[in-house]
């Protein structure tokens, strides 16, 4: 190459760099780019995944036996199973028999009953973080799932396990079905193919995993074997931890959907009306957990009541969330069966002071554990905590904020070592039991246990409600439980957030369920 030619090329390059140069237009209409903070992503193995972002991704790759129809969570609809029946078993308990529809994995192999058995046993064998859903919540073990023939799977449930809870639970990612033959080829040091599944997929859903560039993007492409593909052939989940970055990228058309708008930005977008704004429902609850164990600061329910009176729920929702949330004070959020939206505690600082004085701790001082990052509704946790700190101070409680990363927070919380903690809870499957048992049963070893709240009545109510099949009777039990935990439990509920999502005006058919599912194949884009 002559010098002159090099120089010409260099000049051309500089010019193209400085002047905008449109990227391939043809790909734009069939490519969907979602900008979000996918920092919680640690695995793309459906048997191991227990994070919000991986759930959203994996539910588009791995079909479950049953699923929900878009955002409608009122009843499960057929997924891989085209029908199922529930029958009583001889030794007590129920069994559910699923009849599989004809489907093909992205690997080209047909979906067989043995794949379902494998996929259900695998999390239990791995002892994955989500395996407790199978083993602890519905009492499954390795023998529970049986392939009757190539197209029929039977799930045997122990006595006292409510089949409708099991169906709801099977909609969760852990119930995703993978191609056994494929995955088994990729075992490495007995990891059940966990490593391989982070960069490949073997599901039968509308998309397959093309690549996961860590800390950068996850790319899904249409599964060629899927019977009814959607117009979007490529979904790119771009990791953009800064909400401002998502905002500017959406405005400039670099992304189609922004996952993490702050309430301010969302309000501005709503007002401007150029972009589409969605206040999507969640079953999430932001709450304060109060250590109620012997000798702990919140052992006395009057002190817990004082906190519930002191926190300015409405102020938080109006001013920090800018309306992206609703007040809630019980453990079953709106949208689930048995929800109770009663406001048991209106803010009353004088009453809080009085209760603290009665309890003999007019000047309570506690450590207030909070996480880094954003809390429900997109509010920075630090801001929310500062607001609560100032609310509590008015009542005479000094809360010293200790902000740690999520991992460290849970280490402390799990060891029952937190005094006052700000956390969030979201049920893994849309059933009231997903909240009731963990939040009220001490023996279940979950949230009630972490806050050292050992109330036999609450635990009994929760397990009775879980086993009750009759809807009205079940609702009545939850009404009792809601009231009990709201007034005596170790929580001061903050709010039930909405998840603000903003898309470009070109995006059609976007829908996010309260459980966090987005079906990418239902989305299309205008040119």
């Amino acid at each position: 190459m002559s010098l002159k030619r090099i120089a010409t090329l260099a000049v051309a390059l500089v010019i193209s760099v400085v002047t905008a140069f449109g990227a391939a237009q043809s790909a734009r209409q069939t490519t969907l780019v979602i900008g979000g903070d996918w920092g919680d992503l640690i695995t793309l193995d459906p048997g191991v995944s227990y994070e919000f972002s991986s759930t959203t991704i994996l539910d588009n790759i791995y079909e479950r036996l049953v699923k929900f129809d878009g955002a409608d969570l009122s009843a499960v609809v057929p997924g891989l199973a085209e029908s199922w029946e529930i029958a009583a078993r001889d030794g007590g308990g129920n069994s559910i028999t699923f009849h599989l529809r004809d489907a093909t994995f992205s690997t080209g192999r047909p979906v067989k009953a043995s794949d379902v058995v494998y996929s259900f046993q695998r999390p239990i064998l791995i002892e994955s973080p989500s395996s407790f859903l199978f083993t602890d919540v519905v009492g499954m073990d390795l023998e529970s799932v049986v392939a009757v023939d190539d197209k029929t799977v039977r799930l045997d449930l122990p006595e006292g396990v409510n089949a409708s809870i099991v169906l709801n639970l099977l909609t969760f990612t852990t119930g995703g079905v993978m191609d056994q033959a494929e995955v088994e080829q990729h075992y490495e040091d007995g990891d059940y193919g966990q490593g391989w599944l982070n960069d490949h997929s073997a599901g039968s859903g509308p998309y397959l995993l093309e690549r996961w560039d860590r800390s950068s993007q996850v790319v899904l492409v249409t599964n060629p074997t899927y019977s009814d593909p959607g117009p979007i052939t490529r979904v790119i989940m771009r990791h953009m931890p800064e909400s401002n970055a998502q905002r500017t990228a959406l405005e400039s058309g670099e992304i189609d959907i922004a996952w993490d708008y702050t309430p301010e930005a969302f309000q501005a977008a709503e007002a401007a009306g150029v972009l589409k704004t969605y206040r999507t429902d969640t079953f999430q609850m932001s709450y304060l957990g109060m250590n109620s164990g012997p000798g702990a600061p919140f052992e006395d329910n009057r002190v817990r009541d004082a906190v519930r009176y002191a926190v300015d729920q409405q102020g938080i929702i109006d001013n920090l969330l800018l309306g992206l949330g609703r007040p809630m004070q019980t453990i079953v959020p709106a949208g689930l069966m048995g929800a109770d939206t009663t406001i048991y505690y209106e803010r009353n600082v004088a009453k809080a002071k009085e209760l603290l004085a009665e309890a003999g701790v007019p000047n309570l001082s506690v450590e207030f554990l909070i996480s880094t990052g954003a809390c429900g509704g997109g509010v920075p946790c630090a801001d929310l905590a500062a607001k609560i700190q100032s609310d509590l101070a008015e009542a005479g409680i000094t809360a010293t904020i200790k902000q740690t990363t999520g991992g460290e927070l849970y280490t402390i919380y799990r060891a029952q070592a937190a005094q006052l903690v700000m956390a969030a809870w979201s049920p893994d499957y849309p059933d009231p039991d997903g909240n009731a048992t963990p939040l009220s049963s001490f023996p279940a070893g979950s949230i009630a246990w972490r806050n050292v709240w050992d109330n036999a009545e609450a635990a009994e109510l929760a397990s009775e409600a879980a086993a009750t099949v009759d809807v009205a009777a079940r609702q009545a039990l939850y009404a009792q439980l809601n009231h009990l935990v709201a007034t005596e439990g170790p929580y001061s509920m903050l709010y039930q957030p909405s998840k603000p999502i903003v898309t470009s005006a070109k995006v059609l058919g976007f829908e996010r369920s309260a459980g966090g599912d987005v079906e990418f194949d239902r989305i299309s884009k205008l040119p």
């Binding site: 760099v17 400085v18 140069f21 790909a27 560039d213 401002n244 670099e254």
Partner: protein, 335 residues
Amino acid sequence: MLGFLLRRLGSLVFVVWGVGLATFFISQVVPTDPAAAALGNNARPAQIAAYREKRGLDKPAWQQYLLYMQALAKGDLGKSLRTQRPILNDLKDFFPATFELTLGAMLFALLFGIPAGILAAVKQDRPLDLGVRTLALIGGATPVYWLAILALLLFHSKLGWLPGPGRLDAFLLAPPRVTGILTLDALLAGDWEVLVDALRHLLLPAAVLGAFSTALVARMVRSAMLEVLSQDFVRTAKAKGLPESTVVLKHALRNAALPVLTVLGSLLGGLLTGAVLTETIFSWPGLGSYATASATALDFPAVMGVTLIAGLAYSVINLLVDVMYAVFDPRIAYS
């Protein structure tokens, strides 16, 4: 020369080993359990114990260290607690992005720092000099993350001249990965469109990251030039009637290059530090983001991998600088 090289290589190995040891020492004082952090929200005590055993976290510190060193000798950096992948794979993924960014920043710093320094020196104490010095001072004092936010807001949001965060437009397909350095890979694949887009994405973060270094380079060049310009041979050259530009560029600059060379090493150290913050704002999937995420998750094997590679890079660059010094400046004897 060979003896010098060997000695320097020995000390390089020692330094990198020391960096690893220091990180390991820090990892041992962590109060929280990395196993619990790695297993997430719902892990049960038995699972945590099993994980600790599997990863050797239950062994005494010295045993853990020996195991680590054994593996390292075989080129195995262990597995990350957070990503569950071999750390070497993670580093292979993240290092090229940071390398590209750092190189861009360095180029920016040299491209603007050297001319600014020369101009300032030639026009000593004139408005131009004052301007360069003031800018250099401000460049050295500005918090890089704030500069990054402002730059993004101005050049991307308001003016729309440059693309936003990330390395490449999402609608473009990345070229086949050869080096992981996107611009280079695009060039190798002959993909003009990707090359241009990657360069456009690189421009802003590189400029922001390079601001501090530009200030440093400008200051160094200016003072080195002043020193040289006052020396006899320059005056002689001027007296001989050579045009000022020739004198400056031919004689002075060559001699002023050496002191600039010496700061290159520390410049790189500073760039890596700055990359941590710049990458956060620009969603740049590099070593800085990786280090931050790992440190936040108390993933010390990963942090160790990062410090080792950063220490190695720093040491190698400094070694190269020393060698170049030896080549360019025969006055220095290496015995």
